[in-house]
Symmetry: C2
Subunit: 347 residues, 2 copies
């Protein structure tokens, strides 16, 4: 017989994965009837939930589970390389699962790995998880005694160790840099508000403008839909940004919350015959390979991804080796660094 | 008690991981004494080798294990995105382990995942594995009934399904393109011979020159050491290539076996005041993001990484679902495509 998973129970009983997971942890969010039905089914088919696996806790696997939202993504892979470095130095293996920005894939992957394969998680949550605000799988994992370290996209609702960059401060410094370079009409290209880091960076942008008494023009804030992050929509992305730049011809500086948005803004500016950096200065968050090789090369806010990964692995291994799962928890804030290149040069 | 791993046995008995693994599979390459010692130790501490896990084979995990040599690498992550796509469509999960180009990490990761976490492997082997020519861990996995699909860096010594690109043919087409664009002194920047794809691509380069009666100048073949692929050696890499270009001023075309070598060649040419594409035309293998955004944009041989991953997942899932592990095995060759951009433009 194939192994029974949350997903299969959900499919069999025609309910959501989240409902199954909540019912199995006896959550009162789920009606008594549904809970009993799901629990009976799980019992009948011998479903082995995490807490049973975890009750065998003495058996350490010396393996860390890492869940990232995307893999064709320089920042996340750089973080993983930092996790690997420290894990290997300390004698741990690393296995990686992808959520592909999907809530249910995140739940399924955590469920799969927590079943005895790993000692703890390092995770950056999916966009959809942030949007749904359904965190039961994280609460449950922690409640069952498996430590979690969150990085980058962290959740205030979850009590655990965290590693982040100073998103708001990094954005603030970037926008101040644009102002100092002579920009007076600064636009921001950002994500929808449910992406925590996008929101924080937007906050830093607004703070910098306020600090220098530049009025906030809401039309200057371009919030891009999640779909535009898909690789197949890369042309569409540049077009949306070109329309925005055309609608706001006064814009002379752009702060973009990620590298692809920044490079797409440069491409859009080229469509419109705008010279970078003469007519438009651009800064992007995340210092990846593309920023270095772009023409003009892109000024960025470096996130030190590898260091983030090293810190996350360190925090998790320390908890595991001290077998100390209780509060207080730590949040390490890694400072960002402004890397100045051609896209913000003054003339 | 912590779980006993191959690595720990090796450390405890002060032998190599490879020796432990061979001794446990009762290989006669290992002396009888050593074998008995290792087997006794493993038995004493209850080591659970793969074949025990595999004897529980009825318990399908519906999970595929993927082992890649590097994660901060556009090609490998693109392949993984293709694997994920097909796996998800077919109801499978994917977990990823990294070898970091190390033989022993590859062995450890395969050992860990084969212990009941997955149903089969998709793997591109580490440089060091190709160099050592020690493939016992792959033979063993297959002998114990767990299917493997190899991609990109495949081994003729291993009987399994494979997915590759037409490396030699792709290289040949690229070099013919340089000749047609007027180049007569074409250099190649490649890896050491133990990297299978580097060797195949070098073969394609040599075939194209022969076909057009251009004599082969061995000085034109620059074989770069593995260390130069490390991210921290990126400046050193450009310097080595600059010296090579200086030593061979006649070179008017470069075929590089990967994107980073190609971009470094363009950087080196700039150091020497050579104009691209007027003085020097460049083509790189692997069509990544950097090629598109580079200035001048880079002509490349596209490997269709995502498609490679899709094919590999398809082959593995078919074997698993038909429960058919015997020969004949299949090798799917995915055609490469020359993507012409600015770096080979004619004047």
């Amino acid at each position: 017989m194939q192994k029974l998973t949350l997903k299969k129970i959900a499919k069999e009983l025609d309910v959501s994965i989240s409902t199954v997971s909540k019912a199995l942890s006896d959550s009162h969010e789920i009606s008594k009837d549904t809970r009993q039905k799901i629990q009976a089914f799980a019992k009948l088919y011998n479903y082995r939930p995490n807490n049973i696996a975890l009750s065998l806790k003495n058996k350490k696997t010396k393996t860390l589970g890492v869940i990232i939202p995307e893999i064709v993504h320089h920042f996340f892979t750089t973080v993983v390389s930092g996790i690997e470095k420290v894990a290997n130095e300390r004698g741990y293996n690393v296995i990686i699962g992808l959520s592909n920005e999907s809530f249910s894939k995140e739940v399924i992957n955590m469920d799969m790995l927590a079943n005895g394969s790993i000692d703890g998680f390092i995770i950056s949550v999916a966009r959809e998880t942030q949007l749904k605000k359904d965190f039961h799988h994280l609460h449950e994992t922690i409640n069952q005694g498996m430590p979690i370290v969150m990085f980058d996209r962290v959740l205030p609702e979850i009590a655990c160790d965290k590693v982040v960059v100073d998103d708001a401060e990094g954005a603030r410094k970037a926008v101040l840099n644009l102002i100092d370079a002579g920009c007076r009409n600064i636009g921001i290209i950002t994500t929808e508000d449910h992406v925590s880091v996008g929101k924080l960076r937007t906050g830093g942008y607004e703070a910098a403008l306020k600090e220098r008494n530049i009025p906030l023009d809401e039309g200057f804030e371009l919030k891009l839909k999640d779909e535009l992050n898909e690789e197949e929509n890369i042309e569409e992305l540049a077009k949306v940004i070109a329309t925005y730049l055309k609608d706001h011809p006064a814009i002379d500086g752009i702060f973009a919350v990620n590298e692809i948005y920044a490079l797409s803004a440069m491409k859009a500016a080229r469509y419109l015959g705008k010279h970078i950096p003469k007519d438009l200065k651009v800064i992007g968050f995340t210092d990846g390979m593309l920023s270095k090789y772009a023409t003009p090369s892109l000024t960025t806010v470096s996130q030190h991804g590898k260091l983030l990964g090293e810190k996350a692995a360190f925090l998790l291994i320390e908890r595991l080796e001290k077998d100390h799962l209780e509060p207080p928890f730590e949040t390490i804030i890694v400072e960002t660094e402004l890397v100045e290149r051609e896209s913000t040069k003054q003339f």
